[in-house]
């Protein structure tokens, strides 16, 4: 319980620091939105009028406290450009990002588990080294490059999945899902390697345990032993990493969303940046940071629940 309290306190501190940092960065530094809205030939008075209108002329700390107060109550401000409420804009796009992440992680698992098992079973052999090399190459393809190559090969050359518009789930599961296949694959192509490596390492360790030898000695077939006896204890770390990756993916799918025109949080951020829509950028950054910290927090807690050693050891860290 003390561990949980400690983690919660840290969670709050981190989130608070992130809001302050983001707010200061967006608000103190040059490139004031008032100049953008007023246009290039606007006089200084006009700019000042817009500033007063948006409340940008008051001291930054007062604005921060006000913004934070509203933020906690769910009012994240309105877009300078479209007048859309920021909170609504984010929440309406979040399911798309979430779906993309889930599909991507499913693909990553589909790649990671079999290859991880093969690599561990044949550790140090040709199969293992081939998989390691493939993993290295896969890691060296940035996701935006993977996306372009996938579009080129799968959609244009093979004609399997014509680049399709995003359809909401109400249009049917397949219509909805098919727009996610290529983007998810582009993300999974770099994510699976880490999962595979962790699974391989843990599985090698587990396979050396006595109870595995016992199972083998009883005459159980190799695949039965690996799948039924070894895989479960060995996949613990991998599942942790899977959770932590979801945190990074919230921010990492930004480019993929904009390449495939998926209306997710990442695309919202990119478009807000192109439009210099500061209040939206601010909202999205805090949202992403909060989601990231929260996921880490939950993974940490689960970890502590499952592995009692962590509770005492890490309470000081």
């Amino acid at each position: 319980m003390r561990y949980v309290l400690k983690r919660v306190r840290r969670l709050i501190v981190v989130v608070f620091a992130v809001t302050l940092f983001t707010f200061l960065l967006v608000n103190v530094l040059p490139g004031d939105v008032a100049y953008d809205i007023a246009g290039q030939d606007a006089s200084e008075e006009e700019v000042q009028a817009i500033r007063a209108d948006l409340g940008l002329d008051r001291p930054v700390m007062i604005r921060y406290v006000e913004w934070l107060g509203d933020f906690v109550q769910g009012d994240w401000g309105r877009s300078f450009r479209t007048d859309e409420p920021v909170a609504e804009a984010i929440w309406s796009r979040f399911p798309v990002s979430l779906e993309l992440m889930v599909v991507a992680q499913v693909f990553a698992l589909i790649l990671a588990v079999p290859f991880g098992i093969f690599a561990a079973y044949r550790a140090g052999r040709t199969v293992d080294r081939t998989i390691a090399t493939a993993g290295f190459m896969s890691l060296s393809i940035p996701s935006f490059m993977a996306a372009i190559l996938l579009i080129l090969v799968v959609s244009l050359n093979l004609g399997w999945l014509p680049t399709s518009e995003y359809e909401p789930l109400s249009e049917g599961l397949w219509a909805n899902l098919r727009a996610f296949i290529l983007p998810a694959l582009a993300i999974a192509l770099s994510e699976w390697v880490v999962l595979m490596r962790v699974l391989r390492a843990d599985l090698i360790g587990v396979l050396q345990q006595d109870y595995i030898s016992l199972a083998r000695a009883k005459g159980l077939p190799v695949w039965h032993v690996i799948l039924r006896h070894a895989l479960k204890p060995a996949s613990f770390s991998m599942i942790t990493i899977l959770g932590l990756q979801i945190g990074t993916l919230i921010g990492g799918s930004i480019i993929i969303e904009s390449i495939f025109a998926l209306p997710g949080v990442g695309r919202l951020l990119i478009n807000a940046i192109y439009a210099r829509d500061f209040i939206v950028v601010q909202g999205v950054v805090v949202f992403i940071a909060f989601a990231y910290v929260l996921v880490n927090f939950i993974v940490d807690l689960l970890y502590a629940v499952l592995d009692p050693r962590i509770r005492t050891e890490r309470s000081d860290g």
Partner: protein, 301 residues
């Protein structure tokens, strides 16, 4: 908790990660570097040479427009073809290498110069200072790197300097963590104790006893950091938020060819291949060096 064999403290900040690193096999035979080291190294030397001497190696001007040959396939005049404005793809790939390599090398150096002292101070002094630094790093890491970079490019505009410095800032946490872990594992060793016994001050111990030991694992990580710096710069220039538009960059070229993937895929594919080979080479060379020089110490991260 201490490792009974070496009596060094182990710090399992993320037990899973450390386990995975420790289990990693060393690449190749133990005595010498294999082909997986020399081949990528040769590529890196080639690409660096071309980037440095770009104006003198007989390639065309990357900005000159050849209106007769728009989107030309690779041919004798243009070895890798031309893009939609008739610019020579080979020339642009070579000049684009300048951007990627400058950012790729300089950003980790910025991160190292700032992260190394921070990490060493945290690891050496411990206590409140350590708590504060580790806490700040955690906060910093709470915002995904790319988001932070987008934020910087929004505020400061895109230029080589801004990209390099802001990307360098992103490397502070990782370098600080590595040097903190290394400092922790060395600070209770005999030679530090000996130095303290003969009256050396904290500053002297940090600089003369610990730094030489900490620098090695940090440098060994450096080349891998170069690879990820190139990838992130590519992502930024892909989004048009790195160096301004007419200036050639790999990410920008890949993005530029997107509209013409169907008729002339070579506009995107050639820079993609070159970038892939470069990133892969840095990863391979870096990983070989890392597993050679920093295996034991990194296990403590």
């Amino acid at each position: 908790m201490a490792d009974p064999t070496t009596n060094r403290p182990l710090h399992p900040a993320r037990p899973t990660l450390s386990r995975f690193r420790r289990m990693r096999p060393t690449t190749g035979k133990s005595g010498q570097f294999g082909l997986a080291f020399w081949l990528p190294l040769a590529w890196l030397i080639l690409i660096t040479f071309c980037a440095i001497f770009a104006p003198w190696i007989g390639i065309q001007d990357p900005d000159s427009l050849d209106f007769i040959n728009l989107q030309a396939e690779p041919n004798d005049a243009h070895l890798l073809g031309t893009d939609h404005l008739g610019r020579d793809v080979l020339a642009r790939v070579v000049y684009g290498a300048r951007v990627s390599l400058v950012v790729g090398f300089c950003a980790p150096v910025v991160g190292m110069l700032l992260g190394l002292p921070i990490g060493m101070i945290a690891g050496y002094f411990g206590g409140r200072i350590d708590g504060f630094i580790v806490g700040s790093i955690d906060t910093f890491l709470a915002v995904p790197g790319l988001v932070l970079l987008l934020l910087f490019s929004l505020i400061f505009g895109g230029s080589l300097l801004v990209v390099t410095v802001s990307l360098g800032l992103l490397f502070i946490p990782i370098f600080a963590r590595i040097s903190r872990a290394a400092t922790l594992s060395f600070k209770s060793s005999e030679f530090v104790l000996a130095a303290r016994t003969i009256g050396a001050g904290d500053f002297n111990i940090l600089l003369r006893e610990l730094l030489p030991n900490v620098v090695l694992p940090v440098l060994a990580f450096g080349l891998v950091a170069v690879a990820s710096a190139i990838v992130v710069e590519g992502a930024l220039s892909f989004l048009g938020l790195s160096v301004p538009a007419p200036h050639p960059s790999w990410g920008g070229m890949i993005a530029g060819g997107r509209e013409h993937l169907e008729e002339s895929p070579h506009i995107s594919v050639f820079p993609a291949i070159v970038m892939f080979l470069t990133v892969l080479s840095f990863n391979l060379v870096g990983d070989t060096l890392r597993s050679r020089f920093a295996d034991v110490r990194e296990a403590a991260i």
